[in-house]
Symmetry: C2
Subunit: 357 residues, 2 copies
Amino acid sequence: MARALRLAERGRYTAHPNPMVGCVLVNEDQVVGEGFHAKTGEAHAEVHALRAAGERARGATAYVTLEPCAHHGKTPPCSNALIEAGVSKVIVAMRDPFVTDGKRGLQILADAGISVDVGLMQSAATALNRGFVNRVTLQRPWVRVKLAASIDGAIAMASGESQWITGAAARADVQRLRACSGAVMTGIGTVLADDPSLNVRAADIETGGLQPLRVVIDSRLRMPLAASMLALPGRTLICCTGSPDARDFKKTNAEVVSFSAHDGRVDVDAVLQELAARGVNDVLVEAGPGLAGHCLERGLVDELVIYQAPSVLGSQTIRMFDTPAMTSLADRKSLTITDVRRIGSDTRITAAFNKSE
Amino acid sequence: MARALRLAERGRYTAHPNPMVGCVLVNEDQVVGEGFHAKTGEAHAEVHALRAAGERARGATAYVTLEPCAHHGKTPPCSNALIEAGVSKVIVAMRDPFVTDGKRGLQILADAGISVDVGLMQSAATALNRGFVNRVTLQRPWVRVKLAASIDGAIAMASGESQWITGAAARADVQRLRACSGAVMTGIGTVLADDPSLNVRAADIETGGLQPLRVVIDSRLRMPLAASMLALPGRTLICCTGSPDARDFKKTNAEVVSFSAHDGRVDVDAVLQELAARGVNDVLVEAGPGLAGHCLERGLVDELVIYQAPSVLGSQTIRMFDTPAMTSLADRKSLTITDVRRIGSDTRITAAFNKSE
């Protein structure tokens, strides 16, 4: 199963909005076939593994990171394929949270007399597809805020100067974060100040042509038609409120959508629901303290990824989050550190917000 | 030598102002004696090791973390003791930076026909006694700023509320930092706001009765006579400017010393020199952003120890350093991370300031 999970990860940049899935077929202690799901519309992991195994699939045990599908979607159901190939046992890491018509792959397999087992390395499998799980079960993507900061928590000088606090390796790592996200979100303030591209442009990342949807929170539709991202491959979603005149954007890659307001600004929660409805599993927020702080105060952030530079910038600087409503220690947002590692000369800290608070 | 260094460390809380020294005597591949320097005025590491070895010191090799002394101080010179015991070889990690009368222990040993070798694990030995080395060579102690902060760099809420950002394990660790420091420095602002004790009070730390000198930077002598630290064992040094009336402090454990002014405040550099002259190897700064930022801007800080809590406190907070003069990225103070470890649920980051800038 560990191998199946590693295979699944190979779909990290390409499988979404589908989940990442890996499958290993073992017959008489030999791996006879393996596969992973590479891209929506293409064959599922199980089909790749069955093809590789050929006749040796008969009597084999299949290790699959996600319950095989039961539905006729863009590809035929994998449960049937496993049955037809004569697999004798199926071990599944986690159930599929996405069950449309009540039929479960596991039930179909069991009904066909195949031995099924669920739960091996379940937490690793769930973590791998937490964006997909969030979207399917909560109708919300997994929201990750990325920050580049000094060790004393500054993301820029007060003048706005921020290029570069972190090093080239950290910035390259951000490309990977973007590539595994269905959408990258920022605020109009960042667009006006920095004119960011928010695209995946690293030569060593193969996304199969996928670019994350660029999402700009822009209540009053101040987005300039000359913004760099509007001229790049991929789509841009401009989120505003009210009924603005969006005719100018017809010629660009951008779509302008009006959302309900929350305290006079775009209701980000509504935006996230819209993104989930559009099949976005993971949202990467690369924003200034205004939008990041707003998301934090509203409890909309699942995870923080901080690239922490080994430097002190001091007090004449801009902080990570603007949080006017957090005034006492009781308001603090507590985290669980899930990963700390060195990226070039910077430290990447990954932490999940504790939801029980 | 690795064992000798570990032995030396056992003097961490008690040896200062003397350096930590360890010694291991090896005869025919057997450890025949070992020792460390525990306390000023008591026997040096070599003497302990020679006593333990007895006759088996004859023909032995001595591994010593610091060049054996040549001077008649509170104890007789160790070089002579090694010669008299018949040691045949002496391997030393680092030379002694403290040479009073021009005579070197290594020279005395070599003159007596003993084989001497210098440099084994030298960098570890130097790091172990960097406070002592700083004091002897630069007439300045090693200055370490300790901070307890959230992951977004806040040390308190704007209201001053800060108890507690970090956990009990981190606070216990601070006790160890204090215990290996000759002085703990703070500003009058912190005294007036928090009335800290700044003493070592952990039952599991044996300092042999030593307490770090408490140093309060207090330009206008606003120190209250009722301050907690004035009633505790150990001494307090109140650093002011001008010629204040300090008669009231005669009845306390405090000494009031007037220093030259620097931009209208106490010249902290002069205070550090005074501390070195008093035999302080290591200063721990536990201060608010005013004093910490001032020390940072003046380049007086050697090391940062941040206890980073897994929480976000947001913008309505106080930052680590108040640094009005640092206004562009070029003013940043860059660090080399030397250690990162988990202390309870917090992360302790130790970093040295890069001096080349």
